[in-house]
């Protein structure tokens, strides 16, 4: 069982993440942004993950190759909630892409978070490279990659398994799949012949685990165990978490709340009530606290400027600005 303090931290972060995502969705619907995609429904697993990451820059810290549902992980790591709102508003101040990229497409060198990109599954390829670097470096730091269930149909997922399982050359990569049962409108059970995605890791003799990603305690423990293994053994581990997709795929699919899916916050609140760590009133006030914080940020951000048109060439190359040819 998690100690009280950790449970409270986790709960706060889950609510903060949820409230922030909801603000982003609202912004999108109010035309303060063109597109929303994010991670509501994955807060339990993602906060549990974020809290256990070895955070920092360079080979001695975990390298992160994430997809677009990773907000809660990053908040748990200490990312400010301002950036995501700036990115939604496409302001010049957007710390991840300067108004260039979609929401949830973060890039944080200080966290070893390589740019989150839209193409599904390519992160499983780039993870190989930091995995190799960390295999060769004396450290307990590892590479962590995550992505969805449908995306595992791309050959790139197989590539990650193959490269990280080479005999005597194993890579210290925590390979995560968050299985929400969907790829946009396509149900997983219509596409997956494997009983569990983890079976594909087992084929390579890889350690694997399945976890209920809506269960904070189970997720925290499973992640801890998997990470321990990878940090010590310097070998890959494939972790599959079943998670919810609470606001449908993205704003392109309406981004409306889906009451059929389990809400990990509601689930965790039951535990907190049972353990008498918080009351219903606390839940409400914590939510309000983050809503206020988020609204204030929003009000500030919408006064900020978009990038200028003549900056389009900047940073095509490192440190280059202006048209270069």
């Amino acid at each position: 069982m998690l100690i009280a303090e950790t449970s409270l931290t986790i709960y706060h972060l889950m609510v903060e993440a949820r409230v922030l995502e909801e603000r982003l969705i609202t912004m999108c619907k109010q035309h303060h942004g063109y597109f929303w995609i994010g991670g509501p429904g994955e807060e339990a697993f993602n906060v549990a993950l974020g809290l256990q990451i070895k955070k920092g820059q360079g080979l001695d810290y975990d390298f992160l190759h994430f997809h677009y549902r990773s907000l809660a992980i990053l908040l748990a790591m200490g990312m400010s909630p301002v950036g995501p709102i700036q990115q939604m508003k496409s302001t010049a101040s957007d710390p991840f892409s300067g108004g260039r990229n979609f929401s949830s497409h973060y890039a944080i060198p200080e966290f070893n978070l390589v740019p989150i990109t839209s193409p599904i599954e390519t992160q499983y390829l780039t993870a190989i490279g930091t995995g190799i670097a960390q295999r060769d470096h004396p450290t307990d730091a590892i590479t962590i990659v995550n992505g969805g269930d449908a995306g595992t149909a791309e050959g790139d997922f197989a590539s990650c398994l193959i490269w990280s399982a080479r005999p005597q050359q194993e890579l210290p990569i925590l390979i995560i799949v968050t299985n929400n049962g969907w790829g946009i409108s396509t149900a997983a059970h219509t596409q997956h012949g494997e009983k569990h995605i983890t079976n594909r890791g087992k084929a390579f003799g890889m350690q694997t685990a399945l976890v209920d990603g809506n269960d904070v305690e189970a997720s925290y423990a499973a992640i801890g165990k998997a990470m321990d293994y990878v940090r010590k053994e310097r070998k890959p581990f494939l972790l599959e978490a079943s998670v919810s997709r609470l606001y449908n795929h993205s704003s392109a699919s309406g981004a409306n709340f889906n009451a059929d899916e389990e809400d990990p916050i509601v689930t965790f609140e039951k535990t907190l009530l049972e353990r008498q760590l918080l009351t219903e009133t606390d839940f409400r006030s914590i939510r309000t606290q983050y809503e206020t914080q988020t609204r204030q940020i929003f009000e500030q951000v919408i006064t900020e400027s978009p990038p200028l048109g003549d900056t389009i060439y900047d940073y095509t190359y490192w440190q280059q600005t202006g048209k270069y040819w």
């Binding site: 108004g99 990109t117 839209s118 599954e121 790829g183 946009i184 048109g309 389009i312 060439y313």
Partner: protein
């Protein structure tokens, strides 16, 4: 007045009914969604593939080997770039086997900017596609052409690439597709009722489309461009999203006494050089407009051909208006506007060129 998306849907339905089209597939192409842009709603043969572009193109090639006509969709052309080897393979199969095998197949994919799609929903694909031999490549700019070009693709015995300008998917034309309800508001609503999947999920589950009865084989011959605005001072050649902008520019400039001829290329490869050539001989100058990035751009090929065959016919240098050579189209309005041709850019370009004519 069908939209481009509806026109495609009707053409695919026509193909299923009369041309033996057997498979329309790709990510989210089948029920329940019917395509992220609705273009494949209600089709008998539409189904959802795994999230695997390489598998999708491979499956299309295999189906073509087995003479099973298919339309394979890549959800956004932004995600086609891991399949270039497969597209090359499709394009060289007939040639490599010295004519023994051929591949009747169609790949459809939305292209271009205009919907604030940011880095990965704004790519163009005409430059790379035209560099791949063995394909026929089309890009309609209105519903009638979308309908007619799709039909031709479905009848073609070679790999065809159907590029759909994202920004125009819900655009309507001023010409009717034979059989569609009248080009009125009411007709529009009726067509929607007949062939658009209901938004309500429950209703949608049992919904069946009611296809217009008068649809017919109005295919448009591959390789034929069209003069969509006549003029004699400058030739503007375009396709896809930028085409209506060129027409608008021509209309605007006509009011200032400037006479612009606009050609809708429609088929990018093999293209209608005869039409372009004739127009250049008339206007003595030409602008090629597209929104792919400007370096090693298909418009540059057309410029090369222009100087090769018409150098001494030109009264001004041939000109390219295309997308800036940047790694992506930024999401902010300001960035997208500065990255790909806009109406103003095109008007300016035309005026500048005419001013240069000697």
């Amino acid at each position: 007045m069908a939209t481009v998306a509806q026109a495609i849907r009707m053409a695919l339905h026509y193909g299923e009914t009369y041309f033996g089209l057997k498979h329309v597939f790709g990510q989210d192409v089948g029920p329940p969604l019917g395509g992220v842009f609705t273009a494949t709603q209600g089709l008998k043969t539409a189904w959802n593939s795994p999230l695997d572009e390489r598998g999708i193109i491979g499956a299309a090639i295999g189906l073509a080997f087995a003479s099973q006509r298919c339309v394979a969709e890549i959800q956004f052309c932004d995600y086609i770039f891991n399949t270039i080897d497969m597209l090359k393979l499709a394009g060289n199969t007939c040639w490599s086997s010295n004519g023994q095998w051929h591949l009747p197949m169609t790949v459809m994919t939305p292209v271009g900017s205009g919907i604030r799609g940011s880095i990965y929903h704004s790519h163009s694909f005409d430059a790379m596609a035209t560099h791949i031999p063995g394909w026929k490549i089309v890009m309609p700019s209105n519903p009638v052409d979308a309908y007619g070009l799709m039909l031709s693709c479905l009848k073609e015995q070679n790999p065809t690439l159907f590029l759909v300008p994202k920004a125009l998917l819900y655009a309507r034309g001023d010409q009717p597709i034979h059989g569609e309800p009248p080009l009125t508001k009411e007709g529009q609503a009726l067509l929607k009722k007949m062939i658009d999947k209901p938004v309500d999920e429950k209703t949608a589950q049992t919904w069946e489309p009611q296809w217009p009865e008068g649809l017919r084989d109005d295919s448009i011959k591959l390789g034929e461009g069209l003069i969509v605005h006549e003029g004699d001072q400058v030739t503007v050649v375009s396709y896809g999203r930028t085409l209506p902008l060129c027409v608008q520019a021509a209309k605007n400039l006509a009011q200032h006494g400037i006479s612009v001829e606009v050609i809708d290329l429609r088929t990018l490869w093999p293209y209608d050089w005869a039409l372009i050539s004739k127009s250049i001989l008339k206007t003595q100058c030409v602008i090629y407009v597209n929104e792919d990035t400007e370096v090693t751009n298909f418009g540059e090929h057309l410029i090369r051909r222009t100087v090769e065959e018409h150098f001494y016919d030109l009264a001004a240098p041939p000109k390219l208006i295309a997308g800036a050579f940047v790694p992506g189209i930024g999401l902010a309005d300001t960035l997208e506007m500065a990255s790909v041709p806009q109406l103003a850019t095109i008007m300016q370009g035309i005026e500048q060129l005419i001013a240069m004519k000697v």
